[in-house]
């Protein structure tokens, strides 16, 4: 596939959850409590796209082709986009845009604290995702973008902490992220000589 059309396909695919939400909102299909639907959909897609972003570098190694790295930036930016939508939904429906209530939530509810810190960690990554910043930061760009790993861990904790009576879904997400991060941790293990 041509790189251009691949990027277009990925773009449309990443946009589709948002398009679905907008379509459902226009149709009046979000139900009596849209806050619950929007916060769930935006949160789920933040984690799914973050997982896909983290899959790209192993995928390049396995396939030996460069295309996963070419779409990685777009996946990362869409991750941040859904994280922003998630945060905006929270601010709109749950906080009533009150900074005082945000502060109270950050102090009193650890799952909100870790979710918010996860978003904060992704903020500089989104800003410095351009070629220009990559050039300007040189070596430190790579190090800076390793912040995506703690962000992923915080995302998992954010989800786990919200389990009420059924942990199945959260455990599946955590297992996937454990594989993605564990694959990278191999590099730090002592190399075995056969």
């Amino acid at each position: 596939m041509l790189p251009g059309s691949l990027k277009l396909c990925v773009f449309v695919a990443c946009l589709s959850p948002l398009l679905w939400l907008v379509y459902a909102a226009v149709q009046g299909d979000l139900g009596p409590d849209p806050a619950e639907v929007i916060i769930a959909v935006s949160g789920e897609w933040t984690l799914r796209l973050l997982g896909l972003t983290l899959l790209m570098s192993p995928l390049r190694q396995w396939l030996g082709r460069p295309w996963p790295i070419r779409i990685r930036r777009m996946l990362g930016l869409f991750t941040f986009f859904y994280a922003c939508l998630h945060l905006l939904t929270f601010a709109h429906f749950f906080l009533g845009w009150s900074p005082a209530i945000l502060w109270e939530e950050l102090i009193e509810r650890p799952y909100i604290t870790v979710g918010f810190v996860g978003w904060l960690l992704m903020l500089p990554l989104a800003i410095t995702s351009t070629r220009g910043w990559q050039r300007r930061l040189g070596r430190s760009w790579r190090r800076l973008h390793q912040l995506v790993y703690p962000a992923a861990v915080l995302g998992c904790i954010h989800l786990l902490w919200q389990v009420r009576s059924d942990a199945t879904e959260a455990v599946v997400y955590c297992a996937i992220f454990a594989l993605l991060l564990g694959w990278r941790a191999r590099a730090f293990l002592p190399t075995q000589k056969v």
Partner: protein, 270 residues
């Protein structure tokens, strides 16, 4: 039935009612799944006929009551109540039912009776949520009230809403409605009522005692580790008008129930 009439006793609120379609489509009834639309999608699998309620424990007249007999014995009246969910959303629902006090007086609690324990139907074949292997709730679902709470005139056994028979997802054929407590106290599809001397265990308290107490009175002053209880979204809410309103202590029924908790530390007995 007697239509609700405005009065000082809290039986009737003139606030905008949540439409029937919302109240019957957006439900928590984990026996059918944890999604809000699961109960509306799957509760039809539950058979509600025949239905008996077993009454046991500290009563002079224990036994099994057929639903038909219950309906014949206790005249129905309409009550329009606010319903406040612990998840920080709320509705206004017109219920049809009779005071729980009437039923309890009928079975004559003994002098030892201090609490009332309730149980929901547990029939895994008809309740797919109870078959979910990841669920940590110990079925059947259990709830409880102190006897004086149960005897309060606001406490209702409902068999209908919006002038109709209760839909299965809303707790057919008979459920409890305790408007000053978080919604999960208003146990659905009741099959067993037991009067006890000791405080009975309740499902959410057993599952997570740090988050859910026995009393679970609506209280903006006592925060929940998961959701701030200072505000609520009155449903239907929408993107352009979230309908976010401050939450009132005892869900606005303080005049009727505050005396039940005189001298109690409600932050300790949450």
């Amino acid at each position: 039935f007697t239509p609700a009439s405005p009065g000082a006793n809290g039986f009737h609120t003139s606030e905008d009612q949540t439409p029937f379609s919302d109240a019957s489509q957006y439900c928590n009834f984990y026996e059918f799944g944890t999604g809000k639309s699961d109960p509306a999608d799957y509760a039809h699998e539950m058979r509600t006929e025949p239905w008996t309620i077993e009454i046991a424990g500290e009563v002079a007249r224990p036994g099994k009551l057929n639903l038909e007999d219950v309906l014949a014995k206790f005249p129905l009246e309409e009550r329009i109540y606010r319903l406040r969910c612990v998840e920080a959303w709320s509705m206004v629902i017109p219920w049809l039912g009779f005071p729980l006090a009437a039923l309890l007086q009928h079975v004559e609690p003994t002098s030892k009776a201090k609490y009332v324990a309730f149980e929901t139907l547990h029939r895994p074949k008809e309740m797919r949520g109870t078959r979910s292997f990841g669920s940590t709730i110990d079925w059947p679902y259990r709830e409880g009230l102190r006897l004086d709470e149960a005897m309060n005139p606001l406490t209702l056994m409902a068999v209908g809403m919006y002038g109709k028979t209760l839909p299965n997802q809303n707790g057919a054929p008979i459920r409890l409605v305790v408007p000053w407590k978080y919604g999960f106290k208003s146990i659905k599809s009741v099959v067993r009522i037991r009067l006890t001397e000791e405080q009975p265990p309740t499902s959410w308290q057993a599952q997570n005692p740090r988050e859910y107490g026995f009393y679970s009175n609506v209280n903006p002053e006592v925060d929940h580790p998961r959701w701030s209880q200072k505000h609520e979204r009155r449903l239907p809410s929408s993107i352009f008008s979230p309908n976010r309103i401050p939450t009132a202590k005892f869900n606005g029924y303080g005049e009727q129930v505050a005396q039940l908790y005189q001298g109690m530390d409600l932050a300790k007995y949450y």
